[in-house]
């Protein structure tokens, strides 16, 4: 069984982004880019399924600029067998990405697509669910534990008050949450091997998808700043401030 794992190239999670003073966006020139952390977890999970013998092939996919190839090489160094880049310089929003992925799913016929639950740049949390709807497949989002056997995926998911377990008939979509697994460190030999793995290149037009954005960004601004706080000397001073100044207790 094949599994498809989409991965996104995003600003590295350690970077504190700066909002441009002209209000047009966030300054990402020369900023460190990395694979979206949730997508790393997705590649790791797919690789573990392969190591368990449940999955025969892991295909990594990325949509975006040419440099996404680096993200795909990292995915192949973790464990993807081959990769596909859908190359475009256009702004890609989740609906467009879901349509591109659907076209690839129709070509590759995987039984499972594992995605990160959200990208840490746009924080949309939509692509996996949108893809599931376009395909008419069931979904299990925010996965904490995944078991695949006998044509079904048993997924325990993180929900607001705790955990919930669902059983999905394959083919299905799973999106990963933080504690599903801890991705392995990429070793140098695997990085070298990844350079030789197959990486195919498509354009959105080749897949017959219109990627025009549906949501226009009018401006990007800094969030409201909190006024500077004070240090209190001891617990007694803190309690006094909370009761008499802030009046929250």
């Amino acid at each position: 069984m094949k599994v498809l794992v989409p991965v996104k190239r995003v600003v590295d999670y350690n970077v504190k982004v700066r909002v441009k003073s002209d209000g047009t966006g966030v300054d990402i020139a020369n900023v460190k880019m990395s694979m979206n952390p949730f997508d790393e977890i997705a590649i790791e999970e797919a690789t573990r399924l392969k190591e368990k013998g449940v999955v025969t092939e892991v295909i990594a996919v990325s949509c975006g600029v040419l440099q996404c190839q680096e993200t795909l090489r990292t995915a192949m160094a973790i464990g993807a067998d081959r990769a596909i880049l859908v190359e475009t310089n256009e702004e890609l929003q989740p609906l467009a990405v879901a349509k591109l992925l659907k076209a690839l799913v129709d070509k590759e016929q995987p039984q499972l697509v594992i995605l990160g639950k959200q990208a840490i740049d746009d924080d949309c949390n939509q692509t996996g669910q949108m893809l599931a709807a376009l395909l008419g497949w069931p979904q299990a989002t925010f996965a904490f534990k995944v078991e695949v056997a006998d044509g079904k995926a048993n997924v325990t998911r993180e929900v607001d008050g705790g955990l919930e377990t669902l059983s999905l008939t394959l083919p299905a979509i799973i999106t990963t949450d933080l504690r599903l697994n801890e991705p392995r460190y990429v070793t140098l030999p695997n990085i070298m091997k990844a350079k030789k793995k197959q990486l195919d290149n498509f354009k959105p037009e080749d897949l017959g998808v219109d990627v025009k954005p549906r949501i226009k960004t009018l401006s990007v601004n800094e969030p409201p700043k909190r006024s500077a706080g004070i240090k209190v000397a001891d617990v007694a001073a803190l309690v006094d401030k909370l009761k008499n100044e802030a009046k929250v207790i």
Partner: protein, 309 residues
């Protein structure tokens, strides 16, 4: 223009998130309808009918709606979608799970996690863990939206809307609910709590987290939260995590003990009205957002605080 709010509920009652979502819907202009789809959900429908500003409650019954499975919920919303210009879900685990299925099937974009409604087609939403706020305009005729509940006040419960019972769509049959482990607690729910006390990795163990933080939470009638590091280390359950990809909270009072204040944690609590930080490390980033900072060992300061209250 009419808005449909998909209620967050537990069948016997609605959850607070629904109230904030109704407020957001009202700001979009036009009438607001609320969909309650569940199993033996009469209590939730009755509660929804009391929300001020709601013109109609639509109550759909079915065993296959009992656990809010995304495939079934989305199919139900889609069967009704042509009547609405705006379809809003609270940005809870449930709302986030279902909304994009509706958007994609309608072939429209989704605006996630709105914090403000500027006009019926323009919204504010956080990006980059809330380090930037974007004003975005939807170019689609139908707007599918998830609402960050901390961005909107809860609607009052002084209304009395009619309840229309409607036959539900069929079970998709592709997913089955197996089981759940939902913590039962007398504490307020984290996402809606007025006071939250939150612990970090410095607590060192699940036992110490409980011993130190629980009495403080009890004294204050507070909900308990945790940093990602504390949850990863097993000191607190997953659903206590406050942060960019965990719970987003904005209580009247947030007390962070032993939390350094990573960007991703701040993303989840920096809109709190009053922030208190208790940390041994004078350089901890949490102090940059704290209204009151106490540089102290939490193992001494937190019990002292609990006793002083």
């Amino acid at each position: 223009m009419t808005s449909l709010v998909i209620a967050e509920h537990i069948n016997t009652d609605i959850k607070p998130a629904t109230l904030n979502t109704v407020t957001a819907a009202a700001l979009c202009g036009g009438d607001v309808h609320v969909l309650v789809a569940g199993f033996n959900a009469g209590g939730a429908a009755a509660a929804a009918s009391k929300i001020a500003g709601v013109a109609k409650v639509i109550h759909v019954e079915g065993q296959h709606f009992a656990h809010g499975l995304a495939e079934n919920m989305a199919a139900q919303v889609l069967a009704m979608a042509t009547n609405y210009s705006h379809i809003l879900f609270p940005a809870t685990a449930s709302g986030k799970n279902i909304a994009p299925r509706v958007a994609a099937t309608l072939d429209v974009g989704q605006i996630s996690d709105i914090t403000k409604v500027q006009t019926p087609d323009t919204f504010e939403r956080p990006i980059y863990a809330g380090n930037a706020m974007a004003i975005v305009q939807s170019l689609d005729a139908t707007k599918v939206i998830t609402v960050r509940t901390t961005g909107f006040d809860a609607a009052a419960t002084t209304g009395s809307a009619p309840i229309e019972v409607v036959t539900g769509q069929a079970d998709s049959g592709k997913s089955t609910f197996v089981s759940s482990e939902i913590a039962k607690s007398d504490r307020p729910e984290l996402a809606a709590a007025k006071i939250i006390v939150s612990g970090g990795r410095a607590l060192g163990s699940a036992e110490k987290f409980n011993d130190v933080m629980t009495p403080l939470a009890d004294k204050l009638g507070a909900a308990l939260g945790a940093s990602r590091a504390a949850v990863d280390a097993g000191y607190a359950p997953n659903d206590w995590q406050v942060g960019q990809t965990g719970k987003i909270v904005a209580p009247q009072l947030y007390i962070a003990a032993g939390i350094s204040g990573a960007i991703q944690h701040l993303a989840g609590m920096k809109d709190s009205k009053v922030i208190v930080a208790i940390n041994k490390d004078a350089e901890a980033p949490i102090f940059s957002v704290a209204d009151y900072g106490l540089e102290a060992d939490l193992f001494v300061a937190v019990p002292e605080l609990t006793a002083a209250l």
